[in-house]
């Protein structure tokens, strides 16, 4: 966990003071609605369907137990006793009052937290692998690099008013769990001739024009990372489209120029600033590293008396949880554990204040007081001693936080949808719940195996439906909500190793393909079930996942089966849909 130095703290406090003044001027009528809008967005404050929504940054998903307790306190004092973890490792409060926001920010600053650049057309919270620092397949710990990028991008004077929002993801491992292929810039750590560097993908993203990023530089040496980013952002800031917000993301610029020309323009700019004052020194990396408090692993953990296997043999429920929610760790005797925020009936990513406090206690007891937030909207206890897994499971069970569904169909990623969000065309949460209810048989879920199901309430794609193995998108047709289904999306590499050329395209991410006409809300769970049955009939073994079958046979068999089914051939009348 990174610990603020006095500069970090002062900067956050000065931002709180600045925003308090801006809010006061707005409330006093000294700042127009137009002038205030972007200023508040740059501090994560939206005006939503029911109330303002405040998005608090959790930089690269790292959260300390005392921070989580403060979030619980905020949820109780200024909200309605819960929070919502977003798909970008942030947390959102849906019910604060505008005039309370300065006080909330001041409270956050006491635990080294803020809402800086969680919205607006600026560089957003840098995201990473939720197993950063503990994954066995890691080439480099991305946390240090994320912190370096966090500092560089925070209140950057040149890039505060970009054409559109800008998201950076960093992966330090062999398997890309940061979805680098679907970010404005994706950085993948690589080693060349014994030197560390980054592959740079640009122009990936979801939204209404889903595109997988293009590799514009196969190796930027670590010293040059910030000057390269500066050059990449400068070209975008000057030349990205500003006449049409739907064409303003960097992906459109890269497409219009062609990746080659964009890369060349970046390179020209870079050559002028490369080696300049923003060059990263080893001393700086060491300083940032030294401000992290790193877990002090117990070497004797490897020889702990561990009866986990025996307990699992005796208890199927524990065995299931071990299989899905417990993950490999780089240190012998330790494991990473996912705390599932996806029980049936709870909006994906939602957590109550009481659960926050309880999880904070568990983090202190089991995990060096640290947690991670995953983009799949779950929490991770990254450093749990294996010998204590059963003890932890029992506690999580009692908190309704041990649903054994990580990697399975019911671990649905969903945006808040039309129940909360003013942008949404359709609801997400009730659809997620209906699907979870359809698939409430755990044996069946395990039989289906690994499957990402993602739901977005509108084309802004906050629920990342484009990269779900099955994606569901709420669309509006003449004032009615409909749901479009895609299959074959994925956020990272395929099961089989990609040929090197292909692996240079966005880490193997793929955008899902639409199977056909949209469905009424009440049809969606049945459609998912139909897709699953087609998959089960086609797979050659249990090891062949849904996404692998789509890769092998294409979408046609799925399409045919769904639309041949009389239940889905024609959308049900609207009146019927209204009963759901």
């Amino acid at each position: 966990m990174y610990v603020y130095d006095p500069v970090d703290q002062q900067l956050v406090e000065q931002r709180v003071a600045q925003f308090a003044d801006q809010t006061r001027r707005f409330l006093d009528g000294q700042l127009t609605e137009d002038d205030f809008r972007v200023l508040r967005l740059q501090n994560g404050l939206y005006i939503q369907r029911h109330a303002p929504m405040l998005r608090v940054a959790i930089p690269y998903g790292m959260l300390a137990s005392r921070q989580l307790r403060t979030l619980a306190h905020i949820a109780r004092k200024w909200d309605r006793g819960y929070g919502h973890f977003s798909t970008r490792q942030n947390i959102q409060f849906n019910w604060p009052k505008l005039e309370d926001v300065p006080a909330i920010l001041a409270e956050l600053a006491t635990v080294q937290m803020h809402a800086i650049q969680t919205s607006g057309n600026c560089i957003r919270n840098t995201t990473t692998d939720h197993f950063a620092g503990v994954a066995p397949d890691e080439l480099v710990d991305p946390l240090v690099w994320c912190e370096i990028i966090r500092q560089w991008s925070t209140l950057h004077p040149e890039f505060a008013f970009l054409p559109r929002k800008f998201k950076i993801a960093v992966s330090g491992a062999v398997e890309d769990r940061a979805a680098v292929g679907v970010h404005d810039i994706g950085l993948q750590a690589v080693e060349r001739d014994g030197k560390l560097g980054f592959r740079v993908w640009v122009g990936g993203g979801l939204g209404r024009t889903p595109i997988v990023g293009k590799l514009i530089n196969p190796f930027v040496e670590w010293q040059d990372l910030l000057t390269y980013l500066q050059a990449a952002l400068r070209v975008y800031n000057l030349h990205g489209r500003r006449d049409n917000k739907y064409k303003a993301r960097i992906k459109i610029l890269v497409k219009d120029l062609t990746p080659e020309v964009y890369a060349q323009q970046v390179d020209e700019e870079w050559q002028r600033i490369k080696g300049g004052p923003d060059t990263i020194t080893q001393e700086f990396v060491d300083t940032i590293k030294s401000r992290f408090v790193w877990p002090q692993y117990d070497a004797s953990a490897a020889s702990d008396i561990d009866n986990t296997a025996a307990l699992a043999a005796a208890d199927k429920r524990f065995a299931r949880w071990l299989r899905t929610n417990v993950h490999a760790h780089k240190v012998a005797g330790y494991a990473a554990v996912t705390v599932s925020l996806k029980p049936t009936g709870v909006p994906p990513g939602d957590i109550t204040a009481d659960q926050m406090d309880a999880v904070a206690d568990l983090a202190d007891d089991f995990g060096f007081g640290e947690l991670r937030v995953s983009h799949e909207q779950n929490l991770i206890l990254a450093d749990v001693r294996r010998a204590r897994l059963h003890e932890l499971w029992l506690k999580l069970e009692s908190l309704n936080l041990a649903t054994p569904n990580i990697g399975l169909l019911s671990n649905i990623i969903a945006c808040p949808g039309g129940d909360f969000c003013a942008l949404a065309n359709a609801v997400s949460i009730p659809v997620a719940e209906a699907i979870q209810r359809q698939f409430d048989d755990l044996d069946y879920l395990f039989e289906i195996g690994e499957l990402d199901l993602n739901i977005s309430g509108c084309i802004n794609s906050c629920g990342h439906h484009h990269v779900g193995h099955i994606g569901i998108l709420g669309v509006d047709k003449a004032g009615e909500e409909w749901y479009q289904v895609t299959v074959g999306g994925r956020q990272n590499g395929a099961a089989k190793p990609l040929p090197d050329l292909e692996s240079t395209h966005g880490g193997g991410a793929a955008i899902g393909r639409i199977i056909g006409p949209s469905f009424a809300r009440h049809q969606v769970p049945g459609v998912v079930d139909r897709l699953i049955r087609t998959y089960l009939g086609l797979r050659d073994s249990e090891a062949e996942r849904f996404i692998d079958v789509v890769d092998r046979v294409g979408i046609d068999p799925f399409k045919q089966d769904v639309y041949a089914d009389p239940a889905f051939a024609k959308p049900a009348p609207v009146a019927e849909a209204a009963h759901v």
């Binding site: 950057h156 004077p157 040149e158 800031n237």
Partner: protein, 183 residues
């Protein structure tokens, strides 16, 4: 908007040399009917000319007793400002102004950085247009040293805004103070 003008503090709106002064400059608008080429303002103090005028008539303007200011739009091509040798020669230029048509158009920030670094512009660099209390800090950091604060924003509060942040992460950008606004 009219309501907000009611809050306007009377007096000057231009921050220059770290204090407020009256803005004495006036825009030179070429006749639209006539080709811009050859159109120059009279040899008097205070003119701001569009980049197109500077580009076509820099030799004439440089013979003037009174240098002109050059106004850049956000989509300005800085090579038009430079001479044929690619470098920016300051002769004849009173100051360079960069227009912010709306404060959310951030191109002016990169233009300012390029003027200060790549083109080595040492003279006055003025932010004009949608310049707010809330943008001045960033504008000072990228190299602006004079600021025409827009109506509705108290210029005295704008002067204070240089102190909004006393610490910064980005090493290559300036750390502004009102004193640093004195070029």
């Amino acid at each position: 908007m009219s309501e907000i003008y009611a809050h306007d503090a009377p007096g000057p709106h231009l921050i220059r040399n770290g204090r407020l002064e009256a803005d004495t400059s006036r825009p030179f608008v070429p006749e639209p009917e006539v080709p811009a080429e050859g159109q120059v303002p009279a040899d008097e103090p205070g003119w701001i000319v569009p980049l197109s005028v500077w580009k076509t008539s820099r030799a004439t303007l440089r013979r003037h007793k009174h240098p002109v200011a050059v106004l850049l739009n956000p989509d300005a091509d800085l090579t038009d400002l430079a001479d044929a040798d690619g470098t920016l020669h300051p002769e004849g230029i009173a100051f360079i102004a960069v227009d912010f048509p709306v404060y959310t158009d951030g191109r002016g920030y990169s233009l300012a950085q390029l003027l200060r670094t790549r083109y080595q512009w040492q003279g006055e660099l003025r932010a004009v247009g949608d310049v707010m209390i809330d943008t001045i800090h960033y504008q000072a950091r990228v190299g602006f040293d004079s600021f025409l604060v827009k109506p509705g924003h108290d210029p005295h509060k704008a002067l204070d805004a240089f102190k909004t942040f006393t610490v910064h992460y980005q090493k290559t950008y300036l750390a502004p103070t009102p004193a640093a606004a004195t070029a």
